[in-house]
């Protein structure tokens, strides 16, 4: 059978090198795989949901089994999500797995990105995969945003209204762009079906294609690796693809699916029936986006309500936190490999051995500061919830976060830099114990330090 295939495709020699490809042995190389396997779960559950979802904003009368909604006017989209949750067998658990998988998917991408960043894995010759990776992150965010809005419940409608307002705030083109995207003034009947096309067709096609290229480039360029005995810039030390890596990855895929299924089965997420159908005259509270958009919501909440007029052009206040901030953030992130190469006077040096975070205190410091800005803005997005839980006035919370968003990252930068320097000086493992100093007593009665045997 295999011989029959080999005779026709000549695949044996190709497969032999492929199966012998070496993968470095370190757990942090598996983080990207977790994201990949979340995507697998997302596609499988997503296909199931698509079988029952109706992308239609037409108002119909609800007559399903959820008593409080009976006889109410809801959109066909919301009705189908309710049917999916209450009548379709395994519908609710599929919906919940899909939603949890989406939250964990983006989280896994972020953790993978942090590993790449703090170890300098993006340096020449791997800038292409950094760029593709940022593209994949943006696609994942777009998938999340479009998916969040599909159920057409009150919370997702509130989110869409904010997106509409942010688009409107772009000088010159805002109103035209908003009408182009939404098909008219909010709320429009078209938006649900448009989001649907993006969420189940265009964006997944781009995402899956992008993942394919991401992996192909990785395959061609070979893995980077941590420095260690026998590891150089010109080799890869590790285990072969078959059987070691294949078994590890298969196990990881099954376990990832297990964790997501467990969450979907045991923990309630996005109970749309309590939010009710989207009604344009009503707003739900507390209203937050899913966590990965929280930083933008937080920026909108923290930014003071000022409207700047520059040379006769009015810049509405959502523009700066809602458009300019993410624009600058993603531009800097995209260009980081090139910025760093310029800063470090790298020239055309290639890097196949990874840094430890301490090896480059400047990069680590900047990364920690950026991460803390993100965390502070995300916390600010939950200002009303935090205010409720800790029983402080929501205005106090907002003002505190306005200061924290600048101070905490600055302090974080200094602390990270200092820790890097000390670790570098002491050559300590951040989690290891201080090895101490070995002393020997001399015949004269004094003490002298003994070089540790290495």
């Amino acid at each position: 059978m295999l011989g029959w295939i080999d005779d026709r495709l000549g695949a044996a020699s190709w497969a032999r090198t492929g199966l012998r490809k070496i993968f470095p042995d370190h757990w942090s190389f598996l983080l990207g795989e977790v994201a990949l396997f979340c995507l697998v779960v997302l596609v499988l559950t997503g296909v199931f949901l698509t079988l029952f979802y109706v992308p239609d904003a037409t108002a119909i009368t609800y007559n399903g089994s959820f008593a409080p909604l009976q006889g109410q006017q809801v959109s066909a989209a919301f009705d189908s999500v309710m049917r999916l949750s209450f009548e379709v067998k395994a519908g609710l658990v599929m919906r919940q797995i899909h939603h949890w998988a989406a939250l964990v998917f983006v989280a896994a991408i972020v953790v993978h990105l942090l590993r790449i960043f703090f170890t300098g894995a993006f340096r020449r010759p791997r800038e292409i995969n950094w760029l593709i990776g940022i593209g994949l992150l943006l696609l994942a965010l777009a998938m999340g945003l479009t998916g969040y809005s599909l159920p057409d419940d009150l919370l997702s409608g509130t989110g869409l209204r904010i997106v509409y307002s942010v688009v409107l705030s772009i000088p010159f083109i805002g109103p035209y762009l908003a009408f182009l995207v939404f098909g008219g003034e909010f709320p429009t009947a078209q938006i649900i079906s448009r989001l649907f096309v993006f969420h189940v067709m265009l964006l997944p096609a781009l995402l899956l294609g992008g993942v394919g290229i991401h992996l192909a480039v990785l395959w061609i360029q070979k893995h980077s690796q941590y420095p260690g005995p026998g590891r150089t810039e010109h080799n890869v030390v590790g285990k072969p693809f078959w059987p070691s890596q294949v078994l590890k990855s298969t196990g990881l895929m099954i376990l990832t699916a297990a964790v997501l299924s467990l969450m979907g089965g045991l923990i309630q997420i996005n109970p749309v029936w309590t939010y009710g159908p989207f009604i344009p005259t009503t707003v739900s509270a507390p209203a937050q986006p899913d966590w990965y958009v929280g930083w933008l919501d937080g920026a909108l909440r923290l930014f003071p309500p000022i409207e700047v007029t520059l040379l006769g052009i009015t810049i509405p206040s959502p523009f700066i936190p809602g458009v300019l901030l993410p624009g600058i953030a993603f531009t800097v992130m995209t260009l980081w490999p090139f910025i760093e190469a310029r800063l470090m006077h790298e020239g055309t040096r290639e890097h196949n051995l990874l840094d430890r975070p301490r090896d480059n205190p400047l990069r680590t410091g900047i990364g920690v500061a950026a991460l803390l800005v993100f965390v502070m803005l995300t916390l600010a997005a939950g200002n009303d919830v935090v205010a409720l839980v800790f029983n402080v006035p929501v205005e106090t919370m907002t003002n505190m976060m306005r200061i924290a968003v600048f101070v905490v990252p600055a302090v974080g930068f200094g602390v990270a830099w200092r820790i890097c320097e000390e670790l570098r000086r002491g050559e300590l493992h951040p989690l290891g114990r201080d090895p101490g100093v070995m002393l020997r007593r001399t015949p004269e009665g004094g003490f002298e330090e003994v070089e540790p045997p290495d």
């Binding site: 409080p68 309630q268 899913d290």
Partner: protein, 255 residues
């Protein structure tokens, strides 16, 4: 180090959210609403109680002082709401918002006090609220449009600015829900709805408390904030543990 800090802080928030959802307890229903069919006896008994427990802030004849508003014309509904939810008498360290606590008076004493306050001037009487399952859809519509913006879609409460909190409705009885909507306690505006609409809202509040809520453990029922924390603290933490275990070199020949 800072990351660790954020981790600890988020743990605290999640713990708080769980405490929030654990606060739900079955409501006590009072068989007979106070303030109906009061007698002169009740009024005078109420006045005696009033003079010892309320007059220091609301003044001897209910005309109010700098520390408490006038009670003339607030009606039986307002008095019954404030007393039966334990908001009055005001706790010393309650801040500027009266909070729900166990009532300080017995049901009989409350009836007497309510009768006395009602005698100070004409105001809304204690409403008769008859909840009915057929009112659920109307109740949900009214609740989402009028109550959810502050109290939250699941009636778990919310922050409404100026340090004020819209309290969770997990303890509110049907009568108290109606009284609050008629008498505008604290920062809450009045919602002078018809008797049937009041009953519809109360029916839905009762439903939120008692109806089965499918989908597994409710993590606060307040949307993406607790969901995001759980995604990181449960999902990502578990997967990181798995990644470290899977990535470990289990080969016994290498130690």
């Amino acid at each position: 180090m800072r990351v660790l800090w954020a981790f600890v802080a988020s743990l605290l928030v999640v713990a708080g959210l769980f405490a929030l959802s654990a606060e739900r307890a079955p409501a006590r229903t009072r068989s007979q609403p106070a303030g109906s069919g009061s007698t002169t006896n009740q009024v005078s008994a109420g006045r005696t109680l009033y003079l010892t427990s309320c007059a220091s802030c609301h003044a001897a004849n209910g005309q109010g002082t700098a520390y408490g508003p006038s009670l003339a014309g607030v009606g039986a509904a307002a008095a019954d709401f404030q007393l039966s939810t334990g908001r009055m008498p005001f706790a010393e360290n309650a801040g500027h918002q009266a909070k729900r606590k166990p009532p300080a008076f017995t049901p009989d004493q409350i009836r007497a006090l309510v009768a006395y306050v009602a005698s100070l001037g004409a105001g809304p009487a204690v409403p008769t609220i008859s909840t009915a399952p057929s009112l659920l859809p109307r109740g949900q519509q009214l609740f989402i449009a009028n109550c959810a913006p502050c109290h939250g879609a699941t009636a778990n409460g919310g922050a409404v600015g100026g340090g004020a909190l819209a309290p969770p409705l997990s303890m509110a009885t049907a009568v108290q829900v109606g009284e609050a909507m008629l008498t505008a306690p604290g920062q809450m505006p009045a919602f002078p709805l018809s008797g049937e609409d009041l009953a519809a809202v109360a029916t839905y509040v009762e439903y939120l408390r008692t109806a089965p809520n499918p989908g597994g453990f409710s993590i606060g029922g307040i949307g993406p904030v607790p969901e995001g924390f759980v995604a990181w603290l449960v999902g990502v933490s578990l997967l990181l543990l798995i990644v470290v275990l899977v990535g470990h070199d289990w080969d016994p020949r290498r130690t």
